[in-house]
């Protein structure tokens, strides 16, 4: 009895070792994806999940990644961090996933990054924004297939300074959680360096998920700041924009909304023209450089067909994670002499990797951070769409608006020089 058990255990561990030694092509490439399917952030999570399913079936229709079909395992980030960590472990240890895409929330990424490192599983931080994780620590298995908060906030700020350089006062209305606070810290710190005479007249951090901003709007109407910044998103941003627009706040202040690309279609004509809008990267369903690409257009239309709305930035982020996966496996297989690579070899192939999804090409730096260019524009109305689209777009080269490898954002921002305004940007008019 005892012997049989021992033999079984030995057999099992041999079986476990076998693929690691021989590196035979597995039957499938297993991908674990954390995304919000419940809670407020499901405005991002659900479109991203729909996109992931589309990308997976498209890849499998082509025969898979290097000939290996992919299989997806979804986990709901809305279930809470404890459940999520347990699920994450279960996927890696029991389901033996080959790669994890985690996650949307910066809070979750903070916890997941060390866990991924412990479990030695390749983890793509596919959507979370905080710049701190890869700036503060060195990881071998954690990579970010997209930009981070620093360039995502710097681009709208530089755009504002370029198109409306003479403002004197600013107010902020951000959600009261990590992203709302951190994005304002970056924006206000950089503003102080680049334009020290601007006065901050009000700082509002209404509760995450607040249903009413009437009082904030009243105060802003009384204060009449030249510029109002809000990095809010989802229902919060929609409510704030509608309440502000109904009461004429857009007439007295220039709005800067770095995440409003994801709200354009819902807001329809409730978002006035002339508002500065960003989308956390060069994410835009009418991307001026990609719109001529037949594949790009086909996907935009197919997604609209499937879900009823054009892709928003999390869909682009998901596309980047899949593109990075295909690119890194191609690179690692070549580096391994045509044989299937181990997880460690895949992780080793990540730094220096270049891939292109639905925007411009993205490069993964030595510290695992992606360099992703940033598109910012101003809203206009056209007869073709029943919501605002972007005009006077600028695409900022990401490498110029973020700290170099090894440097932290705070130190980099305090050393900013006004000539950062002179970096070369590509400009585009709305055309469609």
């Amino acid at each position: 009895m005892m012997l049989r058990r021992l033999a079984a255990a030995a057999g099992l561990s041999l079986l476990g070792l076998f693929p690691a030694l021989a590196q035979e092509k597995p039957a499938e490439l297993r991908i674990g994806i954390t995304t919000y399917t419940s809670g407020a952030a499901s405005v991002f999570g659900i479109p991203a999940r729909d996109a992931a399913e589309m990308f997976a079936s498209e890849i499998n229709a082509r025969g898979g990644v290097q000939g290996v079909p992919v299989k997806l395992f979804f986990v709901d980030e809305g279930a809470g961090i404890e459940t999520l960590m347990t699920e994450y472990r279960r996927l890696v240890q029991d389901q033996k996933v080959d790669v994890m895409f985690a996650s949307i929330s910066s809070g979750v990424c903070n916890k997941i990054a060390p866990l991924a490192e412990d479990l030695k599983v390749v983890n793509f931080m596919w959507d979370c924004g905080t710049q701190r994780i890869l700036e503060d620590d060195k990881y071998n298995y954690v990579f970010r297939t997209q930009a981070n908060a620093t360039p995502e906030v710097m681009a709208p700020l530089l755009y504002l300074l370029k198109v409306k350089p003479d403002f004197k006062t600013i107010a902020v209305v951000n959600q009261d959680y990590a992203w709302g606070r951190d994005s304002w810290a970056i924006f206000s710190q950089a503003l102080k360096v680049l334009k020290p005479d601007v006065k901050v007249v009000a700082e509002f951090f209404p509760k995450f998920g607040a249903a009413d901003f009437s009082t904030e709007v009243s105060r802003l109407l009384a204060l009449k700041p030249d510029v109002i910044l809000s990095t809010s998103w989802g229902g919060d941003l929609d409510t704030f924009v509608r309440q502000a627009n109904q009461r004429g706040l857009f007439k007295s202040s220039q709005f800067v909304l770095p995440l409003a690309e994801s709200s354009l279609q819902r807001l329809g004509n409730d978002l006035p023209e002339g508002v500065i809008v960003g989308g956390r990267g060069d994410h835009y369903f009418l991307h001026p450089e990609r719109i001529g690409d037949a594949k790009f257009r086909t996907f935009m239309d197919a997604f609209k067909q499937k879900t009823g709305a054009y892709p928003i930035y999390p869909v682009f982020h998901m596309a980047q994670a899949f593109s990075a996966l295909e690119a890194v496996y191609a690179k690692a297989v070549t580096a391994n002499g045509g044989k299937w690579p181990s997880h460690e070899q895949v992780a080793k192939a990540m730094p220096g990797l270049t891939f292109q999804a639905l925007g411009r090409p993205i490069e993964i730096r030595a510290d695992g951070q992606g360099i992703e260019d940033q598109l910012v524009g101003t809203t206009i109305r056209t007869p073709k769409y029943n919501f605002d689209v972007l005009d006077n777009m600028m695409i900022f080269p990401a490498s110029k608006i973020m700290p170099a490898v090894g440097e932290k954002s705070e130190a980099w921002i305090s050393g900013l020089k006004p000539d950062i305004l002179n970096i070369k940007v590509d400009t585009f008019k709305h055309a469609d």
Partner: protein
């Protein structure tokens, strides 16, 4: 702080308080009569909002006058309150009135969770909105600041009508007297021929309709999203507890305190905005553990 700012803060505070009152008064009314703290109240709020918006969108899409969205708000609220509230009372609550209070709270909490997911199944997770009623009534100007007439006039007027209506109903009508009698002593009321079961049924539907009405009326001012019911149940519980559970006029005063406190906080110390309802609640409960208007209850042996 100048006179203008105080007037402006009062306007914002009253508008906010009106909505909170409409929802909280339903919760406190049900508790007062049935003795059940109904967590599913938050679901009635959310479902009232979603139903009103769906009805409104349907009407405007079908080419009817946008003014019809106003009656749609009320019809949706009554529909949700009567159908959902009625079913919940008949099928579930009736069986557990003589059970422990903890059990009752757990049952209503379970219904709340179920309805949250039903709502996600039907309406999904993308924010919904319908601003027609808000836009139709236009803006009014006060010290150069424009306010929506919907929030500063229409909602407070409705809140006052509901408050006075409930008062009149309970104090001056036969049905109201029956409700009060059952509240006072269910057995004695039954002994003199009052159908207590019917009173409970009607009261629960009325309370549920008030929650749904609060949601329907909030709908034009906000974006509907998953989780809105949970937010509201916490806030209305704070109002009800501050007022004293079961106190209708008290709910109005507490809602007003919270509304004004919140808007003053936005003007003076924005960081405290989120805390105001709870600071007020704790402050009141330390000095008056049964709430502002609640009387200490004698335990029946």
């Amino acid at each position: 702080m100048s006179f203008d700012t105080i007037v402006l803060a009062v306007c914002d505070g009253v508008a906010y308080a009106s909505l909170v009152f409409l929802v909280a008064v339903g919760l406190t009314f049900i508790f007062g009569v049935l003795g059940v703290l109904n967590i599913a109240h938050g679901s009635f709020y959310a479902l009232g909002a979603y139903t009103a918006v769906s009805a409104g969108i349907f009407l405007t899409k079908a080419g009817f006058s946008p003014w019809l969205t106003f009656p749609a708000l009320f019809v949706a609220a009554i529909f949700i309150g009567a159908v959902l509230g009625g079913l919940m009372e008949k099928l579930l609550l009736q069986r557990i009135y003589d059970k422990e209070q903890v059990l009752q709270i757990l049952v209503t909490f379970a219904i709340f969770m179920i309805l949250e997911n039903v709502q996600r199944l039907i309406w999904g997770v993308q924010p919904y909105f319908m601003s027609e009623p808000l836009q139709l009534l236009g803006n009014i100007s006060l010290f150069g600041i424009s306010y929506t007439a919907y929030q500063t006039l229409f909602l407070p007027a409705l809140a006052v009508i509901v408050l006075l209506g409930l008062r009149y109903f309970l104090r001056h009508t036969a049905a109201g007297a029956q409700i009060l009698a059952v509240t006072e002593d269910r057995e004695a009321a039954s002994a003199i021929g009052i159908d207590a079961q019917k009173v409970y049924f009607v009261t629960f539907i009325a309370g549920a309709t008030l929650a749904a009405l609060g949601g329907a009326l909030a709908a034009p001012t906000t974006s509907l999203m998953p989780g809105m019911g949970a937010e509201m149940i916490v806030l209305s519980f704070a109002v009800a507890a501050t007022a004293g559970l079961g106190q209708i006029e008290g709910a109005a005063v507490a809602a007003l305190m919270i509304g004004l406190g919140r808007s003053l906080a936005v003007y003076l110390a924005p960081e405290f905005e989120v805390l105001v309802p709870y600071i007020l609640m704790v402050g009141v409960l330390i000095f008056r553990p049964s709430g502002l208007f609640g009387a200490p209850q004698l335990r029946k042996i």
